[in-house]
Symmetry: C2
Subunit: 153 residues, 2 copies
């Protein structure tokens, strides 16, 4: 898994939405300013997340975006897959974005076997971690910024 700038922006933007969970909606400009994301680019990203069913929007002067579900029900894996595609290091070990690779026999491919373990590990981590966890971690880091966090994940 490699996050593009787009993917990073998406996660940051959604973290903001998760933090403002009380508000009806958060206008895009607020997110762009808060996270220093180019507004026009963010527009494109949020639109994609809406099409993916991750966020909802409201138009007009009171418009903005909000999460379509509780933050605790949105794993990071879902977001990354929508924005950047496969979590797997090799598409031949991806579940959702599988593509056949060049090796003649996948079942006996040693490289594939190794990369499958990497995929499973990473996928498990990103599947377990939700936007709510991200917010919780942000708060923990705010409280004691000097010590490394030692969440058990």
């Amino acid at each position: 898994m490699k996050l593009s700038v787009r993917g990073e922006y998406a996660l940051r933007a959604l973290q903001v939405l998760a933090q403002h969970a009380g508000d009806a909606v958060v206008p895009m400009q607020t997110i762009a300013t808060e996270q220093n994301i180019p507004r026009r680019f963010l527009e494109q990203i949020l639109h994609g997340l809406k099409a993916a069913g991750v966020v909802e929007s409201r138009r007009g002067i009171t418009g903005g975006y909000r999460l379509a579900r509780p933050a605790s029900e949105i794993p990071l894996a879902t977001i990354i897959r929508h924005v950047d595609g496969a979590l797997a290091p090799l598409s031949c070990v991806s579940h959702q974005f599988y593509e056949k690779c060049s090796c003649p026999d996948e079942a006996r491919c040693a490289l594939r076997s190794v990369m499958k373990e990497v995929r499973d590990t990473v996928a498990a981590m990103m599947e377990r971690m939700t936007l709510a966890d991200l917010v919780a971690r942000a708060e923990a880091l705010q409280a004691r910024p000097m010590e490394p966090v030692d969440f058990v994940i």
Copy 2:
């Protein structure tokens, strides 16, 4: 970490060299044929790996490539870093390819904290796994191709 085709070819080629550890050198054409890699492209890749000190070469009619060190002393992490760059999903959590990201305070960035754990996990896996392990796994898969391998990694 996302492997490019180039990175995949590099690992496959080095696996071949590790398997032919007895031979003086293995000609590029043999590797290209055995792994179905475009010869001209492989040329480029092996040349890079030589510059990185991973392989040695010999010219002339008896020429070819061989590993510069025992396969058990070459972790996959080394190869991937040379060919495809950072193992980290975000360059701001990479040790060897660190780049500052757009967030104002790295120490308090929740996303960074999460991605650092991913990086550490993946890096540990790829640092531990060597070319010798890859060969061993290939042999195990050859022997009992139907059952999933249950190496403890």
